[in-house]
Subunit: 269 residues, 2 copies
Amino acid sequence: MLINGAPGNTINAEDRGLAYGDGVFRTLRMQAGLPVNWERQYAKLQQDCNALRIPCPSALVLSSELQQLGKSQAEGIAKIIITRGVSTRGYAPAAQSEATRILNITPKTAFPIEYSRQGIRAHVCKVRLAHQSLLAGIKHLNRLENVLAASELQGRDFPEGLLSDITGYVISGTRSNLFALRGNVLYTPNLTRCGVAGVQRERVMDWCKGYGVTCKVADLRIEELLQSDEIFFVNSVIGLWPVSELADYRRTQHPMAWKIQEWLNDERH
Amino acid sequence: MLINGAPGNTINAEDRGLAYGDGVFRTLRMQAGLPVNWERQYAKLQQDCNALRIPCPSALVLSSELQQLGKSQAEGIAKIIITRGVSTRGYAPAAQSEATRILNITPKTAFPIEYSRQGIRAHVCKVRLAHQSLLAGIKHLNRLENVLAASELQGRDFPEGLLSDITGYVISGTRSNLFALRGNVLYTPNLTRCGVAGVQRERVMDWCKGYGVTCKVADLRIEELLQSDEIFFVNSVIGLWPVSELADYRRTQHPMAWKIQEWLNDERH
């Protein structure tokens, strides 16, 4: 682990990342010691930092630190946390605060291969996401809703859960973005009121452009979702998981998801 | 500073308090080396821990650690953070995770005496609080909304800001609870959809019981608030600040607020 560039595994207990969740993060795959889809990952990190007015470390500093860590964990999962840094008591950020950067690589979690091929059983979470347009889309450190939602999956055979918002629109998985194929159109939920807009979601949208498939960002109700031809979750760690079972929805074949999956697995895209 | 009982000023960088804001906190006054209103403070801490299913350290452990710190900072401001502890990657809490406790005492901030007597100018914040009934009332570590709201006050002559929710009801200050006197009734906002229910709010409600003043928890719109006879903010650090100016509301006399203030300043209550 590198904390502000130095080996270590602790941070200042007065860091605003801890005090208020005042920071952002990224989770991404390493391949042969290099961060996968680095340009997209960095662009999103920078965008999230800008949204919270946290000074973002340069791409060069972060990528060279990841490569340094990648020497001993060449195929792991990297996590980057950027916080607004240390400050005195009080919510207002100090004008001159310096961001804290925390980089870590942990071994890859081995998911069953069936999750990617046959698909997964997904749980309909009870937790409903609140609407906060000022924070929507940002991968910030205020993630108690995700913690509560993930708790619903514990001890049950659901690799992922479906999250809806307080008005009943479907938004995402507990840690992934959501897509639904209906006829010839691929839908993905509108994330301007809540949710996190991930890099893998962006890649799927780029695939659509390249392959002439219409992709629509929409407000989708669960009843509409369950009438889809295909449903799948994506994120940078799991890749793409088709949904085989969700409430009364059942599918064994996922032709579109499999096609996109193959493309996503090529890290050059 | 004491981290899990040991002197230190760093925490494990994999603590869930940092990763997800997965924890709760308290800020309270120390007097003659002892925590003020300790029973109430501990009861609220325990209630918040229970709400998130975080094991709460015992009152004895926390109060003795505060007293230990109080030896060198007898009149400071204590902060207690309890997190769900260290865990591997992933939102779901580990079944066996051990809570982290972080205790710190910093010197008291000296606020101008006018704030408590003449009252303060308060800003109407643009940030609107999201509705999340699962987290409402809890003083958890997901505080980005408060950070954004407090940023609105920076560099301006507003010691506190008024926060409303997404439907337009007034909720609180950026770091305090809110009361409004209308006729013979003291109103305080309903905090079942958002906001933090503080110990000082509870004390004011107790004062009402003892002094035969009706206190109503209500959904209050800003237009109604601005027609109040008196408005004031409370928290354990500032005590009570009457509002002298808020939008087109103006007051120079705060008889009820002053009465309650005197009672609150007696730490035996």
